[in-house]
Symmetry: C2
Subunit: 262 residues, 2 copies
Amino acid sequence: MAKLSSVEARAAIRSGRHRRHTAGLAPGCLQANLAILPEAYALDFLRFCQRNPKPCPVVGITDTGDPIFRTLGAEVDVRTDVPRYRVFRDGVLDGEVDDLLGLWRDDLVAVALGCSFTFEHALAAAGIPMRHIDEDITVPMFRTDIACVPAGPFAGTMVVSMRPIPEDRVDEVKAICARYPLAHGGPVHVGDPAAIGIADIAAPDFGDSLPPRAGEVPVFWACGVTPQNVIVNARPDLCITHAPGHMLITDVDEGAETPITK
Amino acid sequence: MAKLSSVEARAAIRSGRHRRHTAGLAPGCLQANLAILPEAYALDFLRFCQRNPKPCPVVGITDTGDPIFRTLGAEVDVRTDVPRYRVFRDGVLDGEVDDLLGLWRDDLVAVALGCSFTFEHALAAAGIPMRHIDEDITVPMFRTDIACVPAGPFAGTMVVSMRPIPEDRVDEVKAICARYPLAHGGPVHVGDPAAIGIADIAAPDFGDSLPPRAGEVPVFWACGVTPQNVIVNARPDLCITHAPGHMLITDVDEGAETPITK
């Protein structure tokens, strides 16, 4: 799978041959978090993203009712090209599905948000250990008490991902990540989990447990799962997201200056 | 004027004491292009901005009917805090005004777009000559034949700004500007004006003439005046922009990672 191009990887997902997380697929290509909402919520949701650019860096928006992300590559179909989706009704998780062919509606707008895989690749290239990759687990994610800037019905707290980083490399990590504003940018917090409302660093709300070892510091990044925490309050009749870790793979070079393919 | 803070500069503009261009005001603070549209056009306009991030890097969006940019500083009032506005009716320039107190409506949405002043300051700090600043004129801006990615009724060609750059410093200029994605990023073209549809480098469509001298190359950046070129096609009943060079001054540090004040 890791040797497939982005077009081939999407074809494997579309045909049901790949239903697992997408870490490591289509190396060098931008992957994205997903949030699909009725058009009536789209303007406020885009305001929410603009006001919270670290958890919600927008890299694509479809036309209303059009399931194709026309700026993200060749026939990127939001109905079929994500390995697993979460369906929320009235803000409450209603289940997970493998495709949206029976759920797509003419009033839906899909928004793609940048993803941590981009900066993880840059950190790995700089020789920073990424323990969740080495141990082949999903990065731990936590709800925090960091308030997002509200927009219309969208209000709530930020979800963060955590990676244990060797103490002497934290400054380097900050500098590298700040270069990727469309992939959550620099960390939002370093150190004491309690300072951002996390009670137990070994018990994440999403993903797998990965407590820091001696000599490591917990480093926290704004996470694209944040919208899943915020729609609980907005209560749209329908909202569809990716399942954590199961991202949309695009044809955009993850080092590109803009997320727009020609 | 150049010694005023951003809050003081906005106060001077609001009271009518400053009606000129805003170059050099409130050094270190982010300045912004402005586009105000009826809410019915806002979602498509935000899609247009996302798909054309170089001319239209969004740094702020107001709530519908709210004239205050609440994420850009202390009481940033879009009705009074720009020195000169352009009013377009049905896509056609109808005139310029000093404030919007008589024009503001409950259905309007204001969008702030990053501005070239940010990267100009970074270039000047690196010792790159900025001739239009030295000569105290407005940077030359040109309509081009570079097609924007359309969104709904918003479609058309890009407007660019041009700065003559010493030939041996072009690579340095590219690298510096790429660090400022919210200020148009790296140049969209270097060299031959005809290649992007510019017939006469000495005759700009907006701003002042500044032809390159021997040893200088014309370097072109996507420009925040682009929306003024695109609304002609979208024909909203009302659209209000800043007058070229007369920007909205915010309290955001122009080196900040995100354009959101606390």
